[in-house]
Symmetry: C2
């Protein structure tokens, strides 16, 4: 492992390769035998579980409940909403048969041609259609509203180019689907969930995000408005970390979901949907990690503290183990996850490198000399700084240090991001800034045509129209036409 | 709802219909637009979530970690293990294409014939094959063992006859897949997880189970031994509630997974797999519920206590609400989930019936008279008994009552089961007992032939060879040949 660690490509050499190697070397995920599908390994899954647990708590605190809807969707459902079918029907996994049979030549199994489905089924790329088909039966009156459901599920989109966590054919996510009696309430919900996502990203992932609205061109297929949180990776590229959609009455109309409102009139139901996925793992990795491996925010690290004994003989190990026992208990009492790694088949140097690679926020190393001095060597993963610390009150010291690391990596990411947002006032300036990396605030005339041409020429897309910030009008950097306000352009994942 | 409740079929009239109606009326699940697939509604999912949370805790306490493997499995993988393909390849969902396109007549979307997969993919009916194909890369030496992975996932089996929770095409489950260096260790793991399942069933679901081994005929396809926990429903039929398989080296051989053992020799890895599914919901419902609706064990009830105010005017409601506040706080402090239902658009009688239908273990009703007397009317769902109780120390009283209910419904189920296990000493006796319902302990000659013929004639299957109990030899009730011990026969779900 120590050797493999040295082999990790440096970010400055090849950021993309650094990411791919890190995902594998840190035991987060690996490619599977199925094209575009990854295996999420136990260490990677443990991080995802912590994300899930926290998000689920936040959803429940905002009044949502979980449910589960079918994996397969009748093909015809996709066609019901015109934009939706354009966006999702094209690259999806199609189930056409329900049986295999033994091959006549004994070579294995083949599809039984007699077991062909009357109507093909699609593995859900997202569940608006099957869910709104279900909601139809749940909603008669305004008294049945709102419905605030979330689903934790796997979804499938037949992506041509895949990268682990960032873009995979199958991925894990949650999808909230809510139904409301009024437009205002649905819009409020869409914004509320955007704020939940932003809070989660900033307070747990320690990833600063910009909240904004997508342009028509980048909108979810079937939405009237798509809200987004956009994060900046260490190479200056943007990553869309979560989206929340105001769907208007589109899906209610497509599936004929009407209700009797308070005025006793029949009306179509208002909808939102919102989701984050295992893509967040990619954002987490790319925001904080360094050339030594992962850097995990303490609030999401499966293992927050590791303690490594330094010893020459069994007697020394016994003495260290004895002293460490109360430290472990003290940390656990504070809700801190800790491991005492006394495995004797690996040297301390190997363990140090391994836990650095895995991004464990705090490492304590303790030997015979430390016991004599009543000290411990403490290292923080974010800065790699180490120092000797008194064992008196070490539990509180570590608890505070974890919070300090959480705050520090957020501040570091924020500082990096803010120093890589630039204002461009001409197309030449724009092209130069995009080429150099980072976000560019520029005026845009509001047309899809301009957006598409800029993308063709620079590979930069409009990440969002920010909800906050400068709203001074100006002229489009590309066409010179009037612009309502600056928007954020960047190359993106 | 009160009206609908009255419409619930009685168990004595038609047990099967009672079950189907209860699942829908108690808002647990409903049929979806996709054949054989159900929608798990929020209330049903909340129970499943509590099951998941507890099982997950128990898996982690026994050293397991979670991971995630692909939904789709290459068709050829299924053929690698001879028994496995016979058991699982036949009725499964087959993905043959990866794209839809607009129909030329504008009528929607059709499968794009040019997007045919070179090799078809199967939606996992279980994941041994894809997981062992992955483990191959994780295991080189005995130092890499054991691997103790679990996965929470959806699986798909194209069942012809489906019933909600009991047998659905798609269902949710967990599947543990472990890899070991020795046969003994793998066998120990398989038995350990059987015991975890039995503990969970008895302590949380309050469902008594019989632990046993399946006959060769009833074994998991690819296993050398299948351990099972069998529960008895209120109609005397058996329900297989969980299984744990000792897979020997079958999958290691099929996927060529070898390791260097401590003696420095190459050896095939030993395996287990074990799973429980949303079928447990069916077991839970059918074991405890009655003609008034669900009866939920307090340890798994999403809502453990409901408090309903009885009032004639706003003043009375205010007084009740004021007093209830501290009760709610006191219960929450004890970790009890409680709801004060002061909705004013439903009468108390309606609420009573609704919470009975939903199986909420304890109901408190409190009115102006109660306040004067410092009392509350308390009803326990399991016995439907109600009485007036002093408000002094009500929180502790309720906490104890919940435990009492948990124990009582277990004892009741145990008593029912034990009084419906009979010993048959002749085939005539056997047929009579099977017809009357319940489990029958009978001698069997150990052959699949006899087992199959008994099933054909009586619809009874061998549920298991119990791990505990009488091991006196005898003669087979069907053939008169020697029998090593009595086994359990029953009709089953």
């Amino acid at each position: 492992m120590a050797k493999e660690l040295k082999d990790l490509t440096k970010r400055s050499e090849n950021y993309s390769q650094w990411y791919n190697e890190l995902v594998v070397k840190a035991d987060l995920a690996e490619q599977s035998a199925v094209r575009g599908c990854m295996v999420i390994k136990p260490y990677g899954y443990a991080i995802w579980e912590k994300m899930q647990r926290q998000l689920d708590t936040m959803f429940k605190e905002t009044g949502h409940v979980n449910a589960y809807f079918p994996l397969l969707i009748p093909k015809s459902f996709l066609s019901r909403e015109a934009d939706h079918v354009e966006g999702f029907a094209k690259e999806c996994a199609v189930v056409t048969h329900y049986r295999l049979k033994n091959a006549e030549d004994g070579s294995g199994v083949v599809v039984d041609p007699e077991a062909r489905l009357d109507e093909e089924l699609i593995i859900r790329p997202t569940s608006e259609t099957i869910i709104w088909n279900t909601y139809k039966n749940w909603i008669q009156s305004y008294r049945d509203l709102p419905i605030l459901c979330n689903q934790w599920a796997n979804v499938f989109r037949w992506e041509m180019r895949t990268r682990m966590f960032l873009r995979t054919a199958e991925f894990l996510w949650q999808e909230g689907h809510t139904a409301h009696a009024t437009k205002e309430e649905a819009m409020e919900e869409a914004v509320k969930m955007l704020n939940v996502y932003a809070d989660f990203a900033e307070k747990y992932m320690a990833v600063p995000v910009i909240k904004g609205v997508k342009t028509a061109n980048e909108r979810f297929a079937g939405a009237l408005d798509t809200f987004t949180i956009e994060a900046m990776m260490q190479d200056g590229k943007a990553l869309q970390a979560g989206t929340s959609h105001f769907l208007g009455q589109n899906f209610a109309k497509a599936f004929d979901v009407q209700f009797i409102n308070k005025e006793n009139k029949l009306e179509y139901v208002w909808a939102t949907s919102w989701g984050v996925s295992t893509r967040l793992m990619g954002a987490l990795i790319m925001t904080h990690s360094d050339d030594n491996g992962l850097v995990l925010p303490p609030h999401l690290a499966p293992l927050q503290v590791v303690i490594i004994p330094i010893y020459k003989n069994a007697e020394q190990l016994a003495a260290v183990s004895e002293r460490v026992k109360s430290i472990v208990d003290g940390l656990k009492k504070r809700g801190i996850s800790v491991k005492f790694d006394d495995a004797d088949n690996k040297r301390p140097g190997f363990k140090f490198a391994d836990y650095e690679l895995k991004g464990v926020p705090v490492r304590l190393a303790i030997g015979a000399r430390d016991l004599e001095n009543n000290t411990v060597e403490i290292m923080r993963r974010d800065t790699l700084e180490k120092h000797s610390q008194s064992l008196d009150g070490i539990e509180d010291y570590v608890a505070n240090l974890l919070e300090d690391i959480q705050n520090n990596i957020y501040a570091k990411a924020l500082s990096y991001r803010d120093s890589h947002i630039r204002v461009a006032n001409s197309y030449d300036e724009f092209k130069q800034y995009i080429e150099e990396g980072g976000f560019v605030l520029a005026h845009w005339d509001g047309t899809t045509e301009t957006e598409v041409r800029v993308k063709e020429e620079t590979k930069a897309t409009i990440r969002c129209i920010p909800l906050d910030g400068d709203t001074t009008p100006g002229t489009c950097i590309f066409t010179g036409k009037p612009s309502a306000r600056r928007v954020i352009f960047a190359r993106n994942y």
